[in-house]
Amino acid sequence: MLLDSRSGGDVVLVDASSGATTTVDDVRARAAELAEQASALTFLVADASVGSWLTGLALLEARSPFALIDPGMGRDAMLALVDRYAPDRIIDPAGVLIDGGEWRSAAPTTETHPDLAVLLTTSGTTGSPRFVRLSADNVAHNARQIAEALSLGPGDRAATTMPLTYSFGLSVLTSHAVSGGSLVVSTRSVIEPGFWDELARQGATTMAGVPVTFKMLKRLGFADRETTVSTLIQAGGRLDPELVAHFHEALTARGGRFFVMYGQTEASPRMSVLPHDLLPAKLGSVGLPLAGGRLRILDAQDRELPPMTTGRVVYDGPNVMMGYADSPADLALGDVFGDVLDTGDEGHLDDDGCLYLSGRTKRICKLSGVRISLDEVEALAAAIVPDGADVAAYSTGDDALVLVVEGGHDGSDEIRRTLANRLKVPPKLLTVRVGEVLPRLSNGKPDYRTLQTEVVG
């Protein structure tokens, strides 16, 4: 579906360490193999290996619906998901769950809608993670929209700095696959000397990252580094405008490009891109809607607001997901979103249609590029703090989560560490305050507005 216009010998994936290539023909062969034994639902436990990327792409080509499972969620959580959704095929290149890497049931047990292509997990800090249901059309549309906005072509070769199980990583794969480009599949990270050698050897042109990646790249002296990388793509939350300007200058100096993008898994995932040439004029903006998409700003009564007025950000486009799945029965559902996504973000459009984000209407916090529900954080924290103390979680920005624990307890360090561990985020992103009295509303709920505006000493 993404490779239809490409010739068989085209390279799609390059193994960063060995240089071994995977061609369009290889993907088609794997897709034919997977399609032969039709599956109602496949779980792909995707690690950083070539095998995972190849299988993900082949499942898309085979039109075989699959859930992308992050091995980092742990064996117990994975087994619980298997139990709940009863996939009839599990492909596990790393052998985390399945010895030998592949397992099939005798007969399909879970019914899936014919349009369904990919299931991605959203924040699931408590209980069972919620899936985002993407159709084949959602994925293909967004791949083409991104390829167009970034003018991707056969010369573009992106390093796999974002995992396949993360919607951003999946979109790097699909947008390059559809436009003739390729990926350099590396299992290393930017802080390993070998990573930069691999990129140079395989001629990687592009890297994708979330805000924390760019903080690292700056500290690692990317601006002065000799490298083949000339395109940087940023998404996954607000990047400090100072860093945006820094990377825009660095890339301009070497004739490259820097793109700021905005999206959510629910939009397959990209909604807007700020073209390189609009910087530094539009510093702080996340750019223009992708082709075929539209951004609207609405007030509380759903009335559309004029430019320069702040309100709820709503996106319309063919890449908006079919819907969520909270149970196996939901997998049989068709599209329930009608191409409209209420993002839960707040912002305004300028007179040129560029979007500036300013906050969130929903209780969501972004940590290391991943959206986490603050209510789920509270539920998780409530189980950690001693003596059933009341807790309130709020956020003062991306990568800044505050948990207030009421009462005279000690051990804020212990709580912070345990919570960070459960959320799988660095403890440095969390602040835990104990022994305070929570401001409350008349209905007894925490007064988040007051908490948020308090000057934290």
Binding site: I191, L220, R417, P426
Partner: protein
């Protein structure tokens, strides 16, 4: 606090772990779940704060385990004798 203690402290803060849960002789990048690339940069920042130094980029990416880190810090006149 000795330099050894200060360094261990920097690692604990950066990685979000407790000292008594760590085997310092074998501690290495990706050797424990907590030491990923993000935590690595935090360890670097903690070390720079603790010893009031600025690590070279090559040293930042060479800091692959606890022992190597001690060797690297020697270049910055931080000794662990």
């Amino acid at each position: 606090m000795s330099n050894e203690e200060a360094l261990k402290n920097a690692f604990c803060e950066g990685l979000g772990v407790q000292a008594d849960t760590i085997d310092w002789d074998t501690l290495e990048y990706r050797g424990i779940e907590q030491w990923d690339s993000v935590a690595h940069m935090q360890v670097v920042a903690e070390i720079e704060d603790a010893f009031d130094i600025m690590l070279d980029i090559d040293d930042v990416i060479a800091m692959a385990d606890f022992k190597v880190t001690k060797d690297i810090l020697g270049k910055y006149d931080v000794s662990f004798a």
